[in-house]
Subunit: 355 residues, 2 copies
């Protein structure tokens, strides 16, 4: 799980207020600031610190300050059919664009049964799971993919051509927690390597190769090199499918055309492309019957016989949901070096960091 355990624990509410205030200071309207903060804090609560304020908050603020991302998001539906839409995000805040895209997919799915909504001229939008869970909460199945700056080579290649290409599905359950899959098509997410590098730790073998294509355990070398696709050519294939559907189909940037990462502030806007889908469960089966079946399917897996040495079988999303319960109670850990960044940024913008 791409989380950090070190650092001081801060109450969720305090970090949320700090985050909202920073976004408002750089011109993000209050409702959009609240939405964006909710997405980031939710990632931290779920233990996905790579997509929480820990890693991306400073970058988001800087990108707005440097004019690389517009604080006021203007969304335009540029092409539309009953069960599809293409949204131009006009380089607004990724979370605001993605939320609107999933909402539109759900509205259309309520009317038609299912829908796909694509997005271009968007930005980094946090975790995909945040949006697919919106669907699951409304008795729909959610699907979300996105591209981004390349971090992976094609199978057999040595140049960065594909992003980590995350894929998320969420399926509502009854008494059980929703099934929430959110996976990069690399062995690990790039942000996880960044966290290792920030903490000066070596990465496990198999995660990445260096600039020459040689396997490495040096996090800094891995960041200059390439992430390995999960399952070799299969992860490569999935990643390319994600790029064709979220980048090429939407008219957004794709492949190796992204110039710089989230953390490069001297490049053009990212022009991220994404694709969202919602399937109304009721279009296939009465919702109570479906939820009963999902509960049964998940329980049969959870309570099955375990391999030697395994204490528990997890359903995708369970570890994250339990992390959220714990961190909501105990607080969110922020590593010392990140606290320093936050204190400095808060000082600069007149928003004191809590504690």
């Amino acid at each position: 799980m791409p989380g950090v355990e070190g650092g001081t624990l801060y109450p969720e509410a305090a970090l949320r207020r700090f985050t909202v205030a920073l976004f408002e200071k750089v011109g993000v309207p209050p409702a959009d600031a609240a939405r964006t903060a909710d997405n980031l804090i939710e990632a931290n609560l779920r233990g996905v610190d790579t997509h929480g304020i820990t890693r991306v908050l400073v970058a988001y603020i800087r990108r707005i300050q440097y004019g690389l991302m517009k604080p006021r998001t203007e969304i335009e539906v540029v092409r539309e059919r009953p069960s599809t839409a293409l949204i131009d995000g006009h380089n607004g805040v990724g979370q605001v664009i993605a939320t609107r895209a999933m909402e539109l997919a759900m509205e259309k799915a309520k009317r038609c049964g299912s829908a796909f909504v694509g997005v271009l001229h968007s930005n980094h939008f946090g975790t995909c799971a945040y949006y697919t869970m919106m669907a699951a909460e409304r008795d729909m199945i959610g699907f979300c993919i996105t591209n981004g700056p390349p971090a992976m080579a094609p199978w057999g290649g040595r140049e960065k051509r594909l992003s980590t290409s995350p894929i998320s599905f969420a399926v509502p359950a009854g008494e059980e927690r929703a099934f929430v899959l959110d996976m990069a098509t690399t062995v690990v997410a790039r942000g996880r390597v960044v966290l290792y590098e920030k903490q000066g730790l070596p990465i496990p073998e198999g995660w990445a190769v260096d600039e020459e294509g040689r396997p490495t355990t040096d996090a800094a070398a891995a960041l200059r090199g390439l992430l390995a696709p999960v399952g070799g050519y299969k992860g490569y294939g999935l990643s390319l499918a994600v790029d064709l559907l979220s980048g090429v189909l939407t008219g957004a940037n794709f492949g190796g055309h992204f110039d710089g990462t989230l953390f490069d502030y001297d490049r053009p806007p990212a022009d991220v492309g994404s694709l969202f889908a919602a399937i109304d469960v009721d279009a296939f089966m009465d919702v109570p019957a479906f939820k009963k079946r999902v509960d049964q399917a998940l329980r049969e897996i959870k309570h099955g016989e375990r391999a030697p040495g395994v204490e528990r079988i997890y359903i995708p999303g369970e570890i994250e949901a339990e992390s959220a319960e714990r961190r909501r109670r105990e607080g969110i850990p922020i590593p010392e070096e990140v606290v320093r960044d936050f204190v400095e940024l808060g000082h600069e913008l007149g928003v004191p960091f809590p504690g």
Copy 2:
């Protein structure tokens, strides 16, 4: 690639005639026999012998003879919305049901922009790619997933609870070949282990574990044991997503509830569940512009710098398309022991095996 190279080469047309004739002999109407044969022979041409006549033809015929699969397929749309449908296949021939499901998804996508069609009470239907390629040929993006008899444990478990859960995407291109991904969420497809076992060959490490959960290179032990998920918990997560969407959502069989495999003739009908989707490219972008972008994306990957020792970078589906060109010309290899099965079956039904 799950193909065989050993055996005698037979012309495609002769094998196709033989296959059609066998299906007709056991009561499959001519059009359905032709469709099913086309699906199986196409798999052989593409080098995917695990899903061609090589492995499944005898089983299909036996299942019909033993009353486990109905030769006359009666399809019923049991739930419908503008961009969704649920089809009851009433235990007809998998290929006939799946073809109709993808056709319906495409009709709906033409009208609405996109559509999902689910299927229950279906059977083994060959490769998923066959159906997604139907969409790509009509300027749509195709998606197909299916469940089936379990062959994989959940991550941390040791009981069969999930099938190989194949996932296919096809994306049309312009001058380049279509992108066609069709992957099992196990390291390899079960059928590939069957082919090794049939030829008495050991399987590579990492493909499977035996009944006790220990890694094995013995194909027979692997078939009694479990296939390993691709990328560990990620493959497990994808596989469970596939089962929830294709099995649980459709009302079909799911998880560990399948009783026996395609090759067990003393069990109840399979009740396979599947999900098909089509996205009309024109709902997002003018088709010529899209195809130009796909060509560019694929070429940039194919012609990128290669890792040391790599002769060529492949796009998913390229190896299969080149195999089809070659085998259409040179013939389809059928291993000796399979030829013997075919001769015997042909003798029984009064359809002489060619050559």
